[in-house]
């Protein structure tokens, strides 16, 4: 199990949850951050899988 990918997914979820809590002007910040963390989670999982083959 790749704990780092899970951690990044958790960070993505937290970022996504904060999107409605912020002014429209700055809403892109948590949105992009959530996307970045999902990408990092996917990359981390692929890295973990290739190392554990």
């Amino acid at each position: 199990m790749d704990r780092r990918a899970i951690f990044f997914l958790g960070a993505a979820a937290v970022s996504a949850l904060l999107i409605p809590a912020i002014d429209a002007e700055l809403r892109w910040v948590p949105t992009w951050l959530a996307v970045v963390y999902v990408v990092l989670a996917a990359a981390s999982y692929l890295d973990w899988r290739s190392n554990n083959r």
Binding site: R3, R4, A11, L18, A21, I22, V29, L40
Partner: protein, 330 residues
């Protein structure tokens, strides 16, 4: 009498700025010291200089947020600001004594909110401004973490082409002086402005300046001087917590952590958002630690940091509200 009280509370605000430097500013040098690029004494001087000259680079958007965007301006008075500052300073000293890297910035926001609520109830709070600050309590370290992680991956990929590891490390040690300077600029730009905001609020409340006025130059210079002097005189305990206890850092990691944290601080300062420099550099250091595996991060220490974050605003608010009530009883 009012002028004397005003001068006294401005002096307390500058003392708070000094304790901010004492408590928070040393975070600027955590990684430089941890990687032994500079001795603690030299690193502190380096950080203080960049803390001071930050006023040449940043506008005063963060100061405006503190003065006008946290509590209703009609509620602000010398008594409210006094109680808020005492609440924040008390919280800073307690967490300093405990060696916890809590946030001076959030202590200040919590203190002012607590005193304003004690005076006029929860309607005194500007909910939009406070929610923006609250959201960035969480976002700032997450941004720092993600950026540090990405920068470190790029650095590691680039470094893989070099065969001379010693030469590479020497290069990163020199680069760390630049990244530490950039981080100290970002730190000075964000943190000194919180004191400027408090003094601006006082000047507006006592009708010394118009509600739409910018921060006077003497306020800017005195706030940067106070934080730089604070940096010069303290912060070593908190530096040790961040620099060496969260994860083991090499020069390349130090460069990545500081660059990511500096970029985060430059961004939030440009948008007028007061954030914790401690939160930001902690997130960045955790990002570096998690490059290899999550177990490289000492989560026990990181967990204590998170508890300090959660407790800071309510803790400082309760102390400030008690001080406000006490002052009114006397």
């Amino acid at each position: 009498m009012t002028d004397l009280a005003l001068i006294a509370v401005i002096a307390i605000a500058l003392a708070f700025d000094f304790t901010n430097g004492f408590h928070d500013a040393a975070n600027s040098i955590a990684t430089v010291v941890a990687t032994r690029v500079l001795t603690p004494r030299l690193a502190v001087v380096w950080a203080a200089v960049f803390n001071f000259i930050a006023f040449l680079i940043f506008k005063t958007a963060v100061a405006s947020t503190i003065a006008k965007g946290v509590v209703d301006q009609d509620v602000l008075s010398i008594g409210v600001v006094f109680a808020g500052l005492i609440g924040a300073i008390t919280w800073n000293l307690v967490t300093y004594y405990l060696g916890l890297p809590s946030s001076s910035s959030h202590a200040l926001v919590g203190g002012i909110v607590g005193a304003a609520v004690a005076k006029s109830g929860f309607s005194a709070v500007v909910s939009d401004g406070l929610s923006k600050i609250a959201v960035f309590i969480v976002l700032a370290p997450l941004i720092g973490l993600a950026m540090a992680f990405i920068v470190m991956v790029i650095v590691l990929q680039g470094s893989a082409r070099f065969h001379n590891v010693d030469q590479l490390n020497r290069g990163f040690r020199k680069l760390q002086l630049v990244s530490a300077g950039a981080y100290s600029l970002g730190h000075g730009g964000n943190d000194a402005q919180k004191t400027m905001g408090v003094i601006l609020a006082l000047l507006i409340a006592t009708h010394k300046v118009a509600p739409t006025a910018d921060v006077p130059l003497w306020v800017v210079l005195s706030a940067h001087t106070a934080i730089a002097l604070g940096t010069l005189t303290g912060g070593w305990r908190v530096t040790r917590t961040l620099g060496s206890r969260i994860t083991k850092l090499q020069p390349a990691g130090g460069v990545a952590a500081e660059s990511a944290a500096a970029a985060t601080l430059f961004f939030v300062s440009a948008h007028g958002i007061p954030v914790s420099t401690t939160h930001t550099i902690t997130g960045s250091i955790v990002g570096i630690g998690s490059i290899q595996r999550l177990s490289a991060v000492r989560w026990g220490v990181a967990g204590r940091v998170v508890w300090a974050w959660i407790l800071t605003i309510p803790g400082a608010a309760i102390v400030a509200a008690a001080v406000f009530r006490l002052v009114h009883l006397l």
